[in-house]
Symmetry: C2
């Protein structure tokens, strides 16, 4: 924006600034600042927990006054809600991105799971997985539940499509979706203390585990498994 | 115990009750009642959350007075800690059970993961996965961290053993352990609302997902995967 103002053309014949453009820029500026407030809130919630964080703390971190914060959000509850939305929006965007890709469903699912993992490892992770427990107003809680359910059903749908197109092994879509999302959600619980990998590296490592499973691929299916299962049984009744 | 008192032999020649046995029985009786207090606390914490539950609530649920509760535990913090221990003890017992089984490590790991899943789906699940966040006294928090770390390292050890004995595919033991435990821990977040399966059924379903992974077993390794990966890339740059 600044570069446009000092461009040679502007110097030669300074245009009358369009009031519409100025208004758009003000709006965009407000949006950028609002995002900064939400991001600062997410960091404070991460650091001290939601109930131990005040709007004063968030204002202090941004070096502004509390009324300035109120110019962008109406309450601490709304801030938490916005942090939640900022996190899940990354996952919703991933669903949109893969929707029209002409690739097997497992590849589309993996792409979504990678974005999911990165979102949970981002500053919004804690808010994404814990917002629902913080006694938010009923309307916000309902909205959170709806968005979570939408993501859950999106994952189940990709699993079902994968089973149909043969890219995913036959499975229980609901339990599989719960297992995958649970593993990813849990990143928010340990990632603050153990940051030895980036969010993208963790997401990649998790997708590798999900894809391949524990059982080695080279083993003829069933043989070792059945044999050891019998041995476990006989050992257990000893 | 009651059946022993009314057995024919006891009727024929009533023995002088041993003071030692009485003392042992009193101790056992105290232990049983203490367990009931801990179980009632777990249920209240599940229902209303830790901070919204008072010792009065727990006493009311047990139909006893608050001083009676204090006879078994010294504080609400200790109650939460005991609930945590009751949950993780089921997992620790599973590690002990499988330790000497002469079966491949993957089968031993699966057995531990099944018990883990059942524990998280039990009334102690919420306390197991959330006790650490509740601002407990430092000594309790340290103990909780130690027990969690012990379980984490137990899982990693079984994964490493499985990779060595060929029963588990080559993988990153730390990330794999985090993914497995995370999926299981997350059960505590959704199981209260969706109880369509038993804890054992969920644990079984999860172990099936972990074992097999998403990729179908019948697909020749790498072929479809590599092909679709190329297609995702080319689709992404469009």
């Amino acid at each position: 924006m600044n570069s446009r103002r000092i461009s040679p053309r502007a110097k030669a014949a300074p245009a009358v600034p369009s009031p519409w453009r100025a208004s758009r820029e003000r709006l965009r500026d407000r949006e950028v600042k609002r995002e900064a407030v939400i991001r600062a809130a997410a960091r404070e919630f991460n650091l001290k927990g939601y109930h131990n964080t005040s709007l004063d703390d968030i204002a202090a971190r941004l070096e502004v006054t509390k009324p300035t914060v109120y110019y962008y959000v109406t309450s601490k509850e709304q801030l938490l809600f916005e942090c939640f939305v900022a996190g899940v929006e990354q996952i919703r965007a991933a669903f949109r991105e893969v929707r029209d890709l002409a690739v097997p469903a497992r590849e589309r699912l993996n792409a979504v799971l990678r974005h999911y993992g990165e979102a949970v490892a981002s500053e919004f992770g804690w808010c994404m997985v814990r917002a629902e427990d913080q006694d938010l107003p009923p309307a916000m809680s309902r909205h959170i539940k709806t968005l979570k359910s939408e993501i859950d059903h999106g994952i189940r749908r990709l699993i079902k499509e994968g089973v149909q197109d043969g890219s995913i092994a036959s499975c229980d879509p609901k339990m599989t979706a719960f297992a995958l999302a649970g593993a990813l959600n849990w990143i928010a619980h340990w990632y603050r203390e153990d940051r030895s990998l980036t969010g993208a590296e963790i997401a990649d490592a998790f997708v590798t585990v999900f894809e391949g499973g524990l059982r080695p691929r080279s083993t003829p299916q069933g043989s070792v498994r059945e044999r050891t299962r019998r041995r476990v049984r006989s050992a257990a009744v000893r």
